[in-house]
Every structure is written in structure tokens, then in C-alpha cells.
Amino acid sequence: MRVDLVLGFDPTPSEPQQLVVLSDVVRKVIRALVQARSELGHIGCTGSVWDGPVGAPIAALLRRYSLQMSALEESLVECLQAVDSWRDGVEERQSQVTSIVASVADLAGDPTAEDRRTRLIATAREVGVEHDRAAADLAAAFEELSGAVEQIVRADDDLAGELDRALVALTAAIDDWMAAEAPELLRTAVSLGEVAGLTTVISELVGIAALGRKPGDAAGVREIIARSPGSHRLIRALRRQWLEVAPATLPEATFSSRSSGAITDILSGRRTQTATSDSGAGFSVGGLKGSGE
């Protein structure tokens, strides 16, 4: 039954299906904003790689951008609440109007029911007024959203320009740092790798690793053999095949998360007792001091 034909007007015009679509769209936008904001927050958080004089301006800009997004997000949440509330109200009011329309239709042709018909139409007009008031609330929520967007657009700060300048400054600082520090850093890295290789030879001497070639053939190992007080014996030792005297059993690693003691337990002092003793009490040379616990 068409409301406007029966009553002469439609007090609660609205299309509930379109409201569902609008509500879903707003929800999706909010989710995307929240995700973007939390990722920005993660990048620009203090205590991170940006927490220094060079990175701090970038982190500050990211936080400012994040705050703007937060304001937008709040307005959108209010819009969503207004849309949902409007949709619930529309359903209720349209149901009321449907009931009124049915009653008015029933009274058609009855000359004694004029007063009742007038009262029903008056009630429908009241529902219409309520509907207009709710529509004004919905419009206000979107006005607020529009204001929040305008505020971001109108803000006299040049976020993009400032970010660009901060990134250029960061790039220059990194280039300067690399020019001064990178060669020594890379030498240290190479040196660590070489020493790691030399230390790995111990695993071959212990009989648990086969390095695939005789350690004494490697230039790095030959260099340390030359400095050894027992060179000839060391040469002989490095030529031997030690796998045959490999230990029958090795202690279970305490640091594997799949073994009984998780790494975090070990490192936090809740250590698992194993066949391995805590070795290395009281070493010190140069700047290094190792001590068994």
C-alpha cells in the first residue's frame, strides 16, 4: 500500500537497503584508517630507529599525520553511529506509518470515522516531524565529518613539504655517516666472518663438522699456523681426520625452542640443567671479559 496515496504525503521517506550499503562503506573506511594509523604509529613510535636527532623530525611528522587521521577517524565513527541510529529509527517509524496507513485504509468510505482518520493522519505527521529531526542529526554528523576534512585540508602546515625536507636531511646524514664510518664497519664485519671461520675449525678438530677441505689448506688458517708456537704439530693435527674420534654423545642444546629449555628461559636465568657445564669462568683480554655464571 503506497503511503503517499493513502495519506497524501510520505512522513518517513527513506531507503533502508541504501542505508545498509552506506553503513558498510563507512565501516570499511574506518577500518582502513585504523590500520593506516596504527602502522604510522608503529613507524613513528619512540624508542625505535627514529628515536634520534636525525630521525626524530620524521617521527614527529608521522605522529602529527597520525593525529590528523585520528580526528578523521573519530568523525567517521560518529557518522557511522548516526547512520546506524538513523537506520534503526527509520525501521521503527516506517513500521508505525505502515500501521497508520492500514488503519486509514480500513476507514475509507466510513463517514462516521472522519475524526479518527484526522487523528491518525496527525499522528503520522508527528512521526514525520520526528523523522525530520533524526535526519537533521544525521546531517549534522556528516557536517562534522566535512568540517574535520576541511580542517585537515586547510591546515596551514605543509606536511608533505616538511616530510620531504626531513627525508632529504636524513638521506644526507646517512650519506655523511657512510662516508666516514662505512669502510671501518665493513672491515669489522669481514673480520668477524673470518674469525668465525677460524673458530669453526675447532668443530672439525672436535670431530663434529666436516668442512669439506683440509683446514690447513686455507690461507686464513695457514696464517695462524705460522704464528703458532707449535706449528709443525698443529699442521699435523689439522691434516688428521677427526670424525673417527667424534664424541659418542653430545649435550642436548639448551637453546632450541623445541628442546626442554626455551631460549627465553635460558636468557632470563631460568636455565635448564644439561650435561654441558657453564664454562669459561673469568676470561679477559683486551676489552673482552667473559664470565661463567
Partner: protein
Amino acid sequence: MRFALLIGSRTEAAPVIVLDVPPDFYEVPLQTETEARTAAQLQVLEDMGLSDTGQREALSLYLEALAIRLSRGSVLGTAFCAVSLEGHPSTATLTVALHATGTADRGLAVMGAAEAMRREGRYASVGIHELGVHPAVTAIAERPSLPGDAANGQVGATLREMSVLVPVPGHEQAAMITLSTPCLEDWAVYETLLLDIARSLQVQRTHPDFIH
């Protein structure tokens, strides 16, 4: 086991960088005093439970040769483990250096180091991570297990290594820790271990020797 890297001279007031290392690792003794070094080397042989005389002599000679080699250069410590991991033998080495970064800005040091390592081209991957409260650079590379070319051209086993650079809060220094292993099947375990060790970095205001 704890690696304690001394910043500055060895005095009570000198700050120390401390790294927690699981007890599975045997530190290669690097003391400058011969007696102390020899005693520590013997202790390593005991702790490892080696019974073969020839093997004990070989390891003893090698530990001494390694100590002499490391008496120069920037590497401050090295340690190794020989363990059973899920039923098979496994080994890895840990090496530590303290590197001057020329800045107390940890972010700059990390971003600069990461870029330098990327450009150098030796690493398969370079990344920036937050390890607890520390920004850090991680770099992974693979290379022949033994340093230097072999006279006969043999290549040998592959060693996978991961280096972590962790700037020391409040100091123009960074700890550089490298873990290497020829046991590639155990890589995931060692990678997690190294990140945990790097995460444990802390600065102590008093050298452990002076804590009573």
C-alpha cells in the same frame, strides 16, 4: 655465559656492555696473561670432555694459535658450541666486536650501517629490526667455511652467517655479533638464538669484576 664488552679502560667506573649467551657456548680464551690463558684453555678441554690425547693436543694448539691471531684486530671474543640438536650433531660459532659508530644517534647508525651493508653486496639480505628496546641491523651471508683461498682450489663446505649490529644506548659504539654455522639445516634455531642474544644487550655501569 656472559660476554661483557668493556667501553674504555678497565676501571670500576667504566661502563660495560653485557650480552647473555647460552651456556652451550665455549668461549675461546683470549687473556693476555699466558698463565691465565693456558688455565682457561685447559678448562675448555675439560668442559668438553675430550679424552683422546691427540685431539686434546690439537685443540690446545689451535686455541693458542687462535688467541695469538686475535690479539690484534677488532674482534673481542669468539665462542663455539658443539651440541646435539634434535638428535644430530650441530655446531655454530659466535664472534663479537665493539665498533665505534661516530654518533650516539642509534637511528642514524642503524640506517647508515644497513645502507652500507646493502651497497657492499656481500649480503643476501639486510634488514632493520627492533630487538626489544634496541634498533638493530641484521645481515645474512653465505660463504666458504674456511677463510682465504685454498692452494689446491678446493671450495669446501658453506658457512651461513648472520651479523647483528646493535648500537649501544648513550654511547658512540655498537656491538657487532656474528653467528656462523655449517649446519644449514639448523639455521632457524641459530637465527632465533642470535636475535635473542642481541636483544639481551644491556649497559652495566659497573664492570662485573667490581660487583661485590
